[in-house]
Symmetry: C2
Subunit: 204 residues, 2 copies
DNA sequence: TTGTGCTTGTGCTCACAATCACAAAGTAAG
DNA sequence: CTTACTTTGTGATTGTGAGCACAAGCACAA
């Protein structure tokens, strides 16, 4: 828009703003100011305004933002408008938790396929999805699945990522504590849970 | 040390360095250079050197770092030297996955207690631990448990955090998508999984 | 139409973080 | 001892983001 570059940190905050906005929508509020939203989410109001201003003029001075409009716009920015078909690879402990979690729905994600390499798991149903053989990952393209969640052990993560890339995936959420090498056009976000816990004692 | 302030981002990276160092130790390597470690973890070598240099002189010029010494020093910095007794609150899908995960052990964490509010779960065993009633959280202090992992639904998270603070906890790893308000002396790290997934389509 | 009050949108400044590039300091060989 | 080579440790530079403080703009009342 009228800015050159959009900070990555702003993108990171948008899903949080969306969660806050959905809360206000639930309470029946029509409008919300940057201050009210900031109070709820514990952010700085100016930061919220600036983050949104990177993408357009969504508010009305002296009034605030219309909740439903801003929700729609935020979904637009994050490309959450249409449903996102997602596959999970690795139906272990963490994988099962993710499959059971309904919270991804509000962002428009649908986990439609589950893959594993363990013959004992293949064919079994987990949270309504049948576990498939990981060697069938190439079918993702045909099925219009464009995102992958990697919940395999670290040593298997890179080869799974390679297969996902071959299957035409555009984004990967990776839980394995391992850096994934992928083509530039594919975005990887890694959540290293143990790492986060590992820095907690430092602050005590 | 000879620097005024230690960047928070450096602290964040140390557990990752530790993971890399443990890998090199496993392979039997005695020494490692910042470049080799950087290659493995996909970091900038200068950044690794600088991060460590905030805490002391651990390397030998022209040679590199001794793997085992650096592991020990990193554990020291992160205060992972002695075992950290940890409690999990919320024995749901995510909680069960965390209890089953052995990977926290390498950082010295032991999950010794599990709490839930669901009468149907209290008394049951999960991964070798007996689920206790959440109203008994105050016993944590006596038991020397100083860290808490919150895996309850968002609406319950704040009251659980309050109880943890009352029980003398010094750090919380929070999985609920909700900002926790705690005294300054208590450190909270929140992992919002859905938020991370929510920004993935933006980059596609 | 003018004034008052409110909230947005943003220029500017400060703070923090990443990276570069090189002196310092070690090893090893002659 | 001197030279060549290696890798650390860090000053200096560049890049990125957070937050303040205020002008701009809208609503509403008189
Ligand atoms: N569970 C946790 O709380 C937790 C915490 C931190 C990190 N992690 C990370 O998340 C990942 C999954 O953890 P988990 O506890 O669910 O492990 P898990 O062992 O319970 O599950 C891993 C699953 O991946 C499957 N698998 C192995 N190789 C595969 C391959 N090549 N293709 C497809 N599937 C394959 C296994 O059959 C198994 O079902 C690991 O990388 C782990 O380090 C988990
Ligand atoms: N499962 C996932 O993949 C996932 C993904 C993203 C975020 N999360 C978040 O992690 C948290 C846990 O998710 P989950 O899937 O395990 O949910 P869950 O519903 O399976 O488990 C929640 C557990 O917390 C217990 N609980 C409720 N109130 C409590 C209280 N006051 N004190 C103690 N225990 C209480 C419940 O009895 C239940 O056992 C939620 O906040 C969720 O939003 C989970």
């Amino acid at each position: 828009m009228r800015y050159r570059k959009i900070p990555d940190e702003s993108i990171r905050r948008l899903p949080v703003y969306l969660r806050g906005l959905l809360y206000f929508a639930e309470t029946g509020a029509k409008g919300v100011s940057s201050e009210k939203l900031a109070d709820f989410l514990h952010f700085n109001p100016a930061q919220i305004r600036k983050d949104f201003s990177y993408f357009g003029y969504f508010g009305i001075r002296g009034v605030g933002y219309d909740v439903n409009t801003l929700i729609k716009q935020t979904r637009n920015i994050l490309k959450l408008g249409n449903k996102h078909k997602t596959a999970l690879i690795g139906a272990g402990n963490l994988g099962k938790a993710i499959l059971a979690y309904p919270g991804f729905g509000v962002y428009g994600f649908e986990i439609l396929a589950v893959f594993d390499s363990d013959q004992a798991k293949i064919g079994k149903k987990i949270s309504g999805r049948t576990v498939e053989d990981v060697s069938n990952l190439r079918t993702l393209k045909k099925r219009g699945i464009s995102l992958g969640i990697v919940a395999t052990p670290a040593p298997a993560a890179q080869q799974v990522a390679d297969a996902l890339v071959d299957a035409g995936i555009t984004g990967i959420l990776n839980f394995a504590p391992h850096h994934l090498i992928v083509p530039k056009k594919v975005k990887v976000i890694t959540i290293d849970i143990a790492m986060e816990l590992g820095r907690l004692p430092y602050y005590a």
